[in-house]
């Protein structure tokens, strides 16, 4: 078990935990939390590959991870703002109740 493999497994585990949270929790904010965890897992993956990749001097993985962090932050801001807005309308954050788009 190479170190890279370990890191990748950890990242996979994180990703799955985040996914499980996003898929099972009722509160919309917790779905966003799950998404953040997934993003983090992806970042870990990136950094791991950068570290154990053939050309770490190229900084590709690091830069990628940095950009990912920035984007994740922006997305979290917007997402949470939307959740707050929804709460103002529906007086609840229960996503099971938000099925106005039902077909």
């Amino acid at each position: 078990m190479t170190p890279l493999a370990c890191y990748l497994l950890v990242a996979a585990l994180m990703f799955s935990i985040g996914l499980a949270g996003a898929l099972t929790r009722r509160n919309a904010i917790l779905v966003l939390i799950g998404i953040e965890l997934m993003l983090n897992a992806a970042n870990l993956n990136l950094i791991a590959f950068w570290r154990y990749g053939p050309h770490p001097e190229k900084l590709t993985g690091m830069i990628f991870a940095i950009f990912s962090i920035a984007v994740a932050a922006a997305e979290a801001a917007v997402g949470l703002g939307l959740v707050i807005q929804i709460h103002r309308h529906a007086h609840t954050t229960d996503i099971d109740a938000m099925d106005r788009m039902k077909g």
Binding site: L19, L23, I95, D96, M98, D99, R100, M101, K102, G103
Partner: protein, 690 residues
Amino acid sequence: MQETISFTPLVAASPITEILWLIPIAPILASGVAALLKQGKRKVSATLAIGSMSFALLLSLIAFAHVAAGWMHGQAVRETVNFTWIQVGAAHVDLGWVLDPLSSVMLVMVSFVGLLIFIYSTGYMKDDENYTRFFCFLSLFAGAMLGVVISNSILLLFMCWELVGLTSYLLIGFWYQKPSAAAAAKKAFLTTRVGDVFFLLGMVWLFSQTGTLLFYNSGAGSMEAGALTGLLAQPAAWGLTAAGAIGLLIFAGAAGKSGQFPLHVWLPDAMEGPTPVSALIHAATMVAAGVYLIARVYPLMAAGMPSGGTTVALTVVTWVGAFTAVFAALIAVAQNDIKRILAYSTVSQLGYMMAGLGMGGVAVGMFHLITHAFFKALLFLGAGSVIHGCHGEQDIRKMGGLKSDMVVTFITYSIGMLALCGFPLAFSGFWSKDGILEAAQHWSVAKAPFYMLVFGALLTAFYMTRQVAYVFFGVWRGGKPAHESPKSMTAPLAILAFFAMALGLIGTPAWPWFHAFLDGRVASFNLMSFTESGLPGLMFSSTVVVLCGLWLSWKIYGDRSPRPTEPDALEKASPMVWGWLRDRLYVDELYGATVIAFYSWWARVADWLDRRVWGGAVAGVAESFALWARLNRFLDTNVVDGGFDTGCSGLSGSGGLLARVQTGRVQTYLRILALGVVALVMILIWSSRP
């Protein structure tokens, strides 16, 4: 109507022959005009009828004079005018008319007697409201009868024959409101129709065999030697030649029209018509048409006659005639209606004529026809006068003693009656009947017809005396007293009475002018001919027979005048036989039980067929259509609509099902996303395996 008119120019086609067609056309035109008149225009219609008839008589006399002139110069005149009516390829339908002794004599008789009866009708039908219609029909009849007489084409003869039958129907049923009159008219028409079917068959057969419809056509006609030898050579069924078979078929038609047994049943019932109709149609002319037809086709009937013998056709004619003569005379004895006695007498005398034709040839039969026409018309008109005088009474048991109240009628009626009986020497009936008896006596085949005819003469004298005794002698048994008829009625009676006596002179053996005229021989006045073999004896025996009959009847009936409620003298003697005779020997009943019953059964079968089978079939078709419509509706509602609805609901249902995927919940989408990712990754990994 005429596509190609080709006149065959005969050398001797004289002007009178060219205009011969006017003779029947004039009365027919008068009838046509009268048909358009209103019922009120009585004088006009009577004038038209009598005028056209006078015109026809004039032309007939001219024609007769022409033929007689020719005869006197030793020429046998037979002029024809023929033309083609329809041409279909090689076959052509010819019509035409002929002027020869036979037709000229008949023309004069028909038009003369017809004219007298027309004049009589103006008096007799004076009180009838359908006066105009009567004369219209009478003229039509006269025209048709004259057409029968002059016709040279068997087809034209048949057409006029049918027209005569039609007008007879119209005239018998003139008082159609009476159910008995309507039924009698129908009976007459149907019975003669039976005969006419056979006539038509004979006509068609003749045409197909000889190729021509014309009787005389300069050697090519069907009554001329060439065609006859051809017909003789052709065999038909049952040992007959074609000539004999056709002759029998045509005789069947004549038998229907002339009331021979068994087609005589219509004649007595035809007395439902007015008396002038009975006189004209059922005494003088129409019933004589049958005899005339046989005379016209006599060459065919007599074709192949061995010398001294006779042909099968003529034998049949003779036997039927003789039988009818006796049969009808027997029934006449027991009748109580004045006209019915005369009707059966007519049937009997027609039998005499047929027998005369069969045994003695054309001249013998025709002579009796001519004399009979006059004295029978006289008798009928006299009976009409009696009925008129007795205010419509027709039962002889309710008359009596009229000899003093209706003198003219009595005298003329007696003359006619004596002529009919064949009272010797002064009356025409004697000479004509004797001619027939003489021919019967010399008939080679059998002697039975002679004895039958003699017995018939006895019966004739018997029943006529009975009638005269009932009507004119004894006491008046009716209601109101009788009165003499007006001059318009008695004048024709007188004229006819004269001829009833005078006509005998042209046919005596001493001067057989009539026979010579018809046969185209020379006639010489020879008193010594009375001494020819058998002739005095025959004349004597016929005289005895007549006197016997007269005396016997007078003895029984005389001045006795029994009341209507009392039975007749003969009835007292033998009620059973009287009953048979009075009930007309049950011929009508026989027909009713067989033919009529069969037809009503057949009508019921046809009705059942029509209602159940054809009607059922039609209803079945309609039902099948309704069924089809219902099936269509079912299919349409359930299959088409239903299929459509099911499809649509299925679609919307599946749409609904599918729409459930869109839960509107984000987590569901996420899950599906995740599943998709899993699937993709697995595909990726699998595909990139070495």
